[in-house]
């Protein structure tokens, strides 16, 4: 187990290092931030002063080494646009994104798993077929368009919910959370649904396929033959066994929801990290882009690590084979 953990941890560090190089060089190639940031009326001397102030006059390798050195000391640089530490600005936005991602996750798991099991147990029933048809919609609608449609129907046409933005927040342990207020919830519903629909479809399909497979397994047949209630068969024997792939997917998808809720955040003007990334790319705010990507790499790598560890807890075979290997 420990050998496994150490090896997995080493791989994670390697992934982070590789990404650091890629991200830094990639962002460097986009263009010169000063061309965008500075007032067009500025003269050459001011442009050069700004270039020097932002440290852009140094060669790429020197900038990179400086970045790595500072990063190792926990400093990912100051944002060009805001003049404050990039990490601080991103973390300011983190609660909004996390809140959105978690609500979306709860929606997609809470609705997706039961519907998937239902569709898996009765694949030929009307309910089963409708669920599958619905999930195709969830898959294939482009996120942007789907978001606009939600806004048009629920905000413009019906006027039930606000068209965008984040509602009133309350301070919980230093974090600004909005799902605890009524106004906040009203603002949260549409973006969360928009973000959840795709994941929900994914979970429905995955759960259904696994349920159908498990349903035919000997241990399920045996459980039924033993005379267990069908409730117990489904909840204990089937559900427990199909959870491994579902947990994997949920882990991966949570990471991607936190890191790349960009489209949803843009459509709903949700003040999260994704919107910050888009704004930063448009302004070529290099330190912020780099810090953001490094942070998301870190989050995704960490989630994967946790998922792998969870695996070995859920499935003894993983544990045993790794020990042998």
């Amino acid at each position: 187990m420990i050998v496994y953990l150490v090896r997995r941890f080493g791989q994670s560090l390697l992934a982070i290092a590789a990404m650091a190089v890629l991200v830094f060089v990639g962002v460097y190639a986009i263009g010169n931030p000063v061309d965008i940031l500075i007032n067009p009326e500025a003269n050459q001397a001011e442009i050069e002063a700004t270039v020097a102030r932002l440290g852009l006059d140094k060669p790429l390798w020197e900038q990179f080494l400086l970045f790595v050195w500072n990063a190792l000391h926990g400093d990912l640089g100051d944002s060009f646009v805001y003049g404050r530490p990039a990490v601080e600005i991103i973390l300011e936005r983190l609660p909004a994104t996390m809140e959105l991602a978690f609500v979306a996750l709860i929606l997609s798991v809470g609705i997706g798993v039961p519907l998937g099991v239902l569709a898996g147990l009765k694949p030929d029933s009307i309910a089963g077929r409708s669920i599958m048809a619905g999930s195709i919609l969830g898959f294939s609608l482009p996120n942007f368009w789907q978001g606009m449609l939600l806004i048009l129907v629920f905000a413009v046409l019906l006027g039930w919910l606000p068209a965008g933005g984040r509602g009133e927040t309350v301070d919980v342990l230093g974090m600004q959370l909005s799902f605890l207020t009524l106004d906040g919830l009203r603002h949260l519903i549409l973006p969360a649904v928009n973000l959840a629909l795709f994941k929900m479809s994914l979970i429905i399909r995955l759960t259904r396929a696994n349920t159908r497979e498990a349903n035919l397994q000997d241990y399920v047949k045996f459980a039924r033959a033993k005379g267990l209630s069908s409730r117990r068969v489904v909840l204990v024997h089937i559900l427990k066994n199909i959870m491994i792939p579902v947990v994997t997917i949920i882990g991966l998808e949570l990471g991607s929801m936190v890191a790349f809720a960009i489209v949803t955040e843009t459509v709903f003007a949700w003040p999260g990290m994704g919107k910050l990334l888009i704004d930063s790319i448009n302004l070529l705010d290099r330190p912020l882009i780099v810090a953001y990507l490094m942070l998301t790499v870190f989050i995704i790598v960490t989630i994967n690590l946790v998922v792998d560890v969870l695996y070995s807890v859920l499935d003894p075979r993983v544990r045993l084979s790794e020990v042998k290997g």
């Binding site: 500075i38 067009p40 500025a42 606009m148 459509v267 999260g272 302004l283």
Partner: protein, 536 residues
Amino acid sequence: MRRTYATLMAGLIAGTALTAPAMAEELTIGLKSEATSMDPQFHNLATNTQVLSNIFEGLTEQDPVQKVEPSLATEWTAVDDTTWRFTLREGVKFHNGSDFTARDVIYTYCRVPLVENSPSSYTIFTGTMADVTAEDDYTVIIKTEGPNPLLPTEISNLPIVSADAGGAEETITFGTDGCEGMGTVPQAGDFNSPDVAVGTGPYKLQEFTRGNQLVLSRFEDYWGEKPDWETVMMRPISSNGPRVAALLAGDVMMIESPPIQDIPRIEQGGYKIIDALSNRIIYLHMRQDTADAPSISGTDGKNPLQDVNVRKAISLAINREAIKERIMGGFAVPAGELLPPPMFGTSGREADPYDPEQAKALLADAGYPDGFEITLGTPNDRYINDEQVAQAIAQMLTRIGIKTNVDASTASQFFSRRNALDFPIYMAGWGASSGEMSSPLKSLVTTFDKEAGRGVTNAGRYSNAEMDAVLEEAMTTIDDAKRDALLQKAETMVLDDYGIIPIHYEQTVWALDPSLDYEPRVDQYTIAFQVKKAAD
């Protein structure tokens, strides 16, 4: 995508009942982009200026047509060529209750170079100041290094911050190498707090949540006319579709720059559209300094753009009316100058006519009867419908024999490549922040001189020594009438030479609830305190 959305809009709007704004005393505005800081001296950027001008005021201000008007100074005179005397308004209070005096003015101008990490510094406005002194509490003398007729215009961009809120000492002495008595200067981040962001403006900062909203509340001791709204809420909604949706859903009462395609639908929804000519000119610039320009072929290695006949042919080949009608939806005005008349320094010159026959003849005269091939650079997300305009121009040029390929890229890419002289011909825009002709002339067509800081945006490298001399004279002439004449002369020289080709002036559009009124501004700013309740 946009089309789908627009069609859908049309269907849905028809069934939408018009909803009145919920709270009459609160104004909500959907902005295209967000201020990067609450520090009025941190980032010299239109987005910041338009928001912060609610909280801070300069000694002078620019009215909706960019005429310089008194603000915190009641009058000013040029004592001699390099000395200005400003008389300050008495009885003005800062948001924290302290009195506005000459000390605050000196503090403000002293603080500009002390702002750390500024991505675009305000030193471009203080650079010419040699000394700032207080004759008494309400008289400020500003000395400049050379004659600077634009000083009153430039200081409209320098909003006064409170010396007391910044923690300055009793006496502040101006010095070009650093001032004395400044105390510890608060930095940009500190300005998120209403205790530091203290100005004299009609609104006080109440709350700034980055990415979500900026809330202002009315300053009841304001010296001037009080604004109509108790509170103002500004929300950044950068995508066009969602911004329009927020207006239609009643989330906000006013939005800036609605996409031109959606305007008919917004009007159908019962909202008001207002628009005005802006100070932004869209122009074509051509590489003229070298025979060796990139991306030109079919000319035996010559650079045809060095020939004035070719440049004139390009201008005559462009059907500006068609661009205005078909691509800009009528929200543009064909341009014959670098700034729309009757702004300062314009001559009233007409836009070039559309005359493809003469254009072809000129090309033949220049020795290119069969034309040549060229690449036109353009940004695709910076100006209104920029890429479509460039595509149309390319087709028009191709029609007279200049086979034109469009190379469109996102603004951050485009400006870097343009400044690296990547394009033989490119389309871009220029907004004159000072509202007078010297601004486009100085930046776009003066001979490029790195050391002297001239012609910074002259990526066509046009050069005309005679014009440079006339402009130089204009820039040091304090007398307005004389300067006007000189600027007109300089501009005419460039345009007669086809050194740069104006296409059109953009029109700025706002969509707002019918219960509101807004006097549109040429500088494209959306200034909350100038939004009024409509007279019934």
